[in-house]
């Protein structure tokens, strides 16, 4: 087995039976992972197309609906994911150089960031559920009255939402009734919001599972992770999850003018 590597400190690798050379094997893994990521791009891409179409058809409804989202929590989550992407890249680098402790350290931070992301997401989701923003028969929408509602005053908002519809019938002519159904284009926004962020969150959970497994394997010095390739591939996946969020944040949280 020939190992002629550019970097003197790079850890040794093993060759599978179907390959001839270690370089070939490495490139195959990387290209294979990228091909998988291409399918993921198309997977999320279809949702982005749906978002773009509906946003262009119902610009105002989307602009109104998105005010219910908490921009600051979204910003926090973007920050968390960018950080985790950085630490994931560092973990791959450390693993490539055979620095076990540093690898474990950076992987741990990446995993913690992923958990942090999910915690923030949990806070956001529970607020949306409290306000009946989840699409379906219980969907309910109220136009935020003040700018403070936009700023994430969750406790105040939730109390209002739990009560009866704020707009009472007697403020309108007798034959003119407020209709929740008329506001359903916002349900469309929230459907896309939940599907897209939910699917992204699902990818984060898979990422935690993969990175956590790697962490354990490296911790217990399992032979399958002598090679840096598993960490490299998990890193590629994790960066992809980050990229999806890089687009989700401006397109879902920052619609139109604030």
């Amino acid at each position: 087995m020939s190992l002629e590597l550019q970097h003197p400190a790079v850890a040794p690798q093993r060759l599978s039976h179907q390959f001839e050379q270690i370089d070939q094997q490495n490139e195959i893994y990387i290209v294979g992972m990228w091909t998988f990521l291409v399918t993921e791009i198309m997977f999320f891409g279809a949702l982005f197309v749906a978002l773009t179409v509906y946003r262009s058809v119902y610009p105002d409804a989307f602009e109104q609906a998105h005010t219910a989202l908490n921009v600051w929590l979204g910003l926090t989550n973007t920050f968390i994911l960018l950080t985790s992407s950085f630490t994931a890249a560092m973990a791959v680098r450390s693993k490539m150089l055979g620095e076990r402790t540093r690898t474990l350290f950076f992987l741990a931070i990446t995993i913690m960031c992923a958990f942090g992301f999910l915690c923030v997401k949990y806070v956001e989701y529970s607020a949306e559920f409290r306000e009946h923003h989840f699409p379906g028969p219980n969907f309910h929408w109220e136009q935020p009255v003040t700018a403070s509602a936009v700023q994430g005053d969750l406790s105040a908002n939730s109390q209002v939402a739990l009560g009866s519809p704020k707009i009472s019938v007697n403020e309108f002519p007798a034959n003119y009734q407020p209709q929740q159904l008329a506001l359903h284009k916002r349900e469309l926004f929230f459907s896309l919001y939940f599907v897209m962020t939910g699917l992204h969150g699902f990818h984060v959970i898979i990422g935690i599972f993969v990175l956590g497994t790697l962490w354990l394997l490296i911790y217990f010095r399992h032979p399958t992770v002598d090679d840096y390739m598993p960490v490299e591939l998990a890193g590629l996946y994790w960066h992809f999850v980050d990229i999806v969020w890089i687009f989700l944040y401006p397109l879902v949280y920052l619609i139109g003018k604030q």
């Binding site: 409804a61 136009q143 002519p173 008329a182």
Partner: protein, 359 residues
């Protein structure tokens, strides 16, 4: 034993579409013939053991490749251009004098409303020969397909959006009407007949009130007028009350600027959305005080049928192009407004401006 080769031809499109069709049939026969002949002749003539000349076998020739790329391509482009013309007529704007018919598809029946006579019929459509007909269609549930083979005419009937198609029947007769888009259990039974009648027969049919089953004498426009009052539309959209909402007079067919800066043409689909979900495309300059009327049969809801009636009424208010100055609060609307004298302004809605939803 009955082996029909082609359907009846009874509309202005039938002949032009058949021309393209039979040209394609000819091309198919020619090309399939060439390929079959080549394959069979070569396979038999050059089969193993035959004593034929096999000198200079070729494994590629750029000119031949170009020949059999470019000829099919040119033929294809010719057919493409030829067939795009009737297509753009079928789904394009109808002639101005076309009589209008509303069509509501529901599982599993077709419901027609003749706009100018108010006659309604189910699964049957009676139209006079030689007169252009525009069908505006919508579905109450799933996607249906309005299909009359004799007219070579098909259009999907979508839920939530109007589709239109127009045609001019040119042969008296009784023709099949099918649902072409799969819509559930009794999909194959969702059909009926289109009766193309002579003008005299049609006039008599019309004076008899149309189909025996559904006698309606009020026109859709008249029903729409009643609904306009019933739903309280007139309170804000009446003749002169341009404070809370744009007047409907002369609105149809104009181009308006929306609150989000885009411009839109006021057509059937625009009005439909405006009634169901006004905030989705509010005309610039008007307060966001109107709550929509969702489609349904409950309180405060409006049926697909009534929606069409309302739209028919609003259309009847004309699409005047007078460049009257825009009345209203700092409106950027380009709507031409024509005062309608007879309708009294409803004034108890003034409280709406202050109490309505704010954006």
């Amino acid at each position: 034993m009955n082996f029909p080769i082609m359907p009846q031809t009874a509309s202005n499109y039938a002949v032009s579409i058949d021309d393209i069709y039979f040209t394609l049939v000819a091309l198919t026969v020619i090309f399939t013939g060439i390929v079959t002949l080549m394959l069979l002749v070569f396979a038999v003539r050059y089969r193993r053991g035959t004593k034929v000349s096999r000198k200079n076998p070729s494994t590629g020739n750029l000119y031949m490749e170009l020949t059999w790329s470019i000829i099919p391509m040119l033929l294809g482009l010719w057919i493409y251009g030829w067939s795009a013309i009737p297509y753009s007529r079928i789904y394009g704007d109808p002639p101005a004098n076309a009589s209008e018919i509303f069509l509501i598809g529901k599982r599993w029946m077709w419901h027609f409303q003749h706009v100018n006579s108010g006659i309604r019929e189910n699964n049957e459509l009676h139209i006079p020969v030689g007169k252009a007909v525009k069908v505006t269609m919508i579905s109450q549930d799933v996607i249906h397909g309005f299909y009359v083979p004799a007219f070579r005419l098909k259009r999907d009937c979508l839920p939530g959006r109007y589709n239109t198609v127009w045609f001019r029947p040119n042969k008296i007769g009784k023709y099949y009407l099918f649902c072409s888009e799969y819509c559930g259990t009794n999909h194959s039974e969702m059909g009926g007949y289109v009766y193309v009648m002579s003008p005299q027969d049609y006039a008599q049919w019309k004076s008899n009130g149309g189909s025996q089953t559904l006698k309606e004498t009020e026109t859709t426009t008249e029903i729409g007028h009643d609904l306009f009052e019933k739903y309280g539309c007139a309170q804000c959209h009446g003749a002169q009350d341009n404070v809370h909402g744009p007047s409907m007079n002369g609105l149809f067919g104009t181009t308006v600027t929306l609150a989000n800066g885009q411009s839109a043409t006021v057509d059937d689909n625009f009005l439909r959305t405006a009634i169901i979900n006004p905030q989705a495309q509010r005309i610039a300059g008007w307060p966001a005080i109107m709550s929509g009327f969702p489609v349904g049969s409950g309180d405060g809801q409006i049926s697909e049928e009534n929606l069409l009636d309302l739209i028919s009424y609003i259309k009847s208010l004309g699409n005047s192009q007078h460049a009257a100055p825009v009345v209203g609060n700092n409106s950027t609307s380009t709507v031409a407004l024509k005062p309608l004298a007879s309708k009294p302004a409803v004034n108890h809605s003034s409280s709406l401006a202050t109490k309505g939803q704010s954006r």
